[in-house]
Symmetry: none
Subunit: 206 residues, 4 copies
DNA sequence: CATGAATGAGGGTTCATTCAT
DNA sequence: GATGAATGAACCCTCATTCAT
């Protein structure tokens, strides 16, 4: 009996998680399509295949959806960043590192639309902005670890600006990489790599 | 009588132009402050010191304001670009060219807030997007002329991608340059110049 | 087999009754806490320790809960009224009668919160209002019996108004008696008794 | 020109005041009909003959309407109370005083429905409750002044309870006075006067 | 032409009720 | 019977747009 109950609860939790994932995926798609501001909760619910009211069983309001979406995607990105901290990855020269790093991140963004839309959301409410800023700090911390391994003789403070700039450069080209056809995408990705290599090479060497 | 009428009409047009400029300036300020999506027509009217209804004597709807604002700013940018087509300017090496060019464009954006907000508006309605794309083409054409002078042995098609990329890189760093204090601004501008120089130098030489 | 089935059904009914009592008790508490209008069926279910869906196995809708609650409480009140129809109770003078009667009714309301909330519900839907009015008629009938014994030379029609007025007066002071601390409660109860005694004494004598 | 503008502004303010009065009157009517909780802003707007959006040009939200309505009615009641502080009014014996006082207050409530609905609103949000409590204090203060003149040898603290009780008694009978036909109304009003006279006479004398 | 009150469609959100499990 | 996630109508409120003055 207790076992049955347990199984049921487990299943329920699985369904709940599924729903949450559905919603976050739908939200990401909608954010990517119309932007955060123009995204309506009804759009998100419809895309997730549920009713407007169901959204609120999982999230208290629209901002919470955006925040959860951002947290989810950021978490996955962090895991990707960490795979580049293995001894083999660290041993890579700058060029092959960028080569694979950028490919992976671009691919991730292709499969998880919406992250970019939130990053670019011109103006968002204060609480959401704070939450995103927090995630951002986490991201910059990870990226810093990535570069600290290749550029150890500097303080974190000295790495801050080149890191921030590089991140922005990447974000700036990402929409171009995501919006075109495959050929255009590859062309943009090549330019991305060139831009970042040429920007970083004088700073941290090959 | 005809002369009198003419003078009166001229004066009215002058006043109309003044009003339009007031509105566009207000719109730019508001766009910069809260973003295009969160900008309300009432905010713009209030900032322009006129009533909401008066807005609609000059513009049919909110999008038309954004479009006119963008057209206005773009026009002024084009004039700036043209000053860099003089024989003396063309004779400049890449580094000093970027040095003065970027300073000028950053300064312009400081004095004309809102342009960036529109460029970054994550997603906007189709008609407005088309209008902005049109202005964009004009801008890219001007920038192309600028670089064609320094890189003549290539086709326009070959210049297209590096140009677009460079433009996006510049836009990506512009918010950082505009949001901080003077010291931070200068640091970002230095990075801007480094990024663009390092990206372009291998392509078009010094 | 039939016996077994009977026993099972009886047990089920007992459990059903238990559930109904749980729900009604929860409903009363919630009504008292937030008022009928602000009471949600989810609140009531949660307080009763059951799921929202289960509520609807016993009651067709929210109003039915209120109605059943009112009927339940009214029924208990009627039983209390009836204890004051015993020969000894009838023999009491007005003052000692009020003394014990009011104490009992106030105590009952302390132990059965929610009745007052329904009585005071500013406006409720027509069907529920009708149902409550019906219960009301029953209550007024009982109270009339109570007073008919002390005021026999009048028609029921003549007793109607003083009775209704006295009932309202009592209800009006009840919230004050229920909301304060013990000392305040006693002070209010003293005033209740004074009010009703002074109102009734000229009519029916001591 | 300035004069013209002044006149226009004066007229606008007059229209604004008119609108506010329309809205408050509509709100009062609706509150009386369906209660505060069940009153929707659309109902109030429709009753006031304006669009839902217009409501929000005068009041920030639904609660503000209730608060303004209560403040308005309370203000008028206070003026009525004050007329009973004239030397002639004070010279009246308790019975004739109640006679005219109650008639006036009942008449006022007939003409200003909604006050009672708010007073009886079982549960309202904290901010509104605070605002109403504040108005209440003002009302009790006025009533205290009224009775202090007839009962001078007591402290305000001693007058507090009888005053509060009397106020509740009055409110409790008011719905009965307002809901019936003229004959029923008069009968209730007679009872009101009797109740209050008999309650007060032993305390403050004739 | 200017005004700003008025409009009303549409957004986010709640909650009584249903239904698959 | 019990569950609680799902539903969707209806609420409060905003804001682009209109129009009487």
């Amino acid at each position: 009996m207790g076992e049955n109950q347990q199984r049921r609860q487990a299943q329920r939790q699985k369904r709940g998680l599924l729903r949450v994932e559905q919603i976050l995926h739908a939200a990401g798609t909608i954010f990517a399509e119309v932007g955060y501001d123009n995204a309506t909760t009804n759009m998100i619910a419809a895309r997730a295949g549920i009713s407007p009211g169901s959204l609120y069983q999982f999230f208290p309001d629209k901002e919470a959806i955006a925040q959860a979406f951002a947290a989810d995607v950021t978490e996955q990105l962090h895991q990707i960043y960490d795979t580049f901290l293995s001894p083999e990855a660290i041993a890579l020269l700058l060029q092959p590192f960028l080569e694979s790093f950028i490919d992976v991140i671009v691919a991730f963004n292709q499969e998880h639309p919406g992250y970019l839309a939130l990053e670019l959301a011109s103006t968002i409410s204060a609480p959401l902005a704070l939450a995103l800023a927090d995630l951002h700090r986490g991201t910059m911390g990870r990226l810093d670890a990535l570069f600290a391994a290749r550029w150890p003789h500097q303080t974190q403070e000295q790495r801050r600006l080149p890191l921030l700039v590089a991140y922005r450069l990447f974000l700036a080209l990402l929409p171009l990489a995501l919006e075109g056809n495959e050929e255009q995408r590859q062309a943009i990705v090549r330019e991305m790599k060139a831009v970042l290599y040429r920007y970083w090479e004088p700073i941290i060497g090959t």
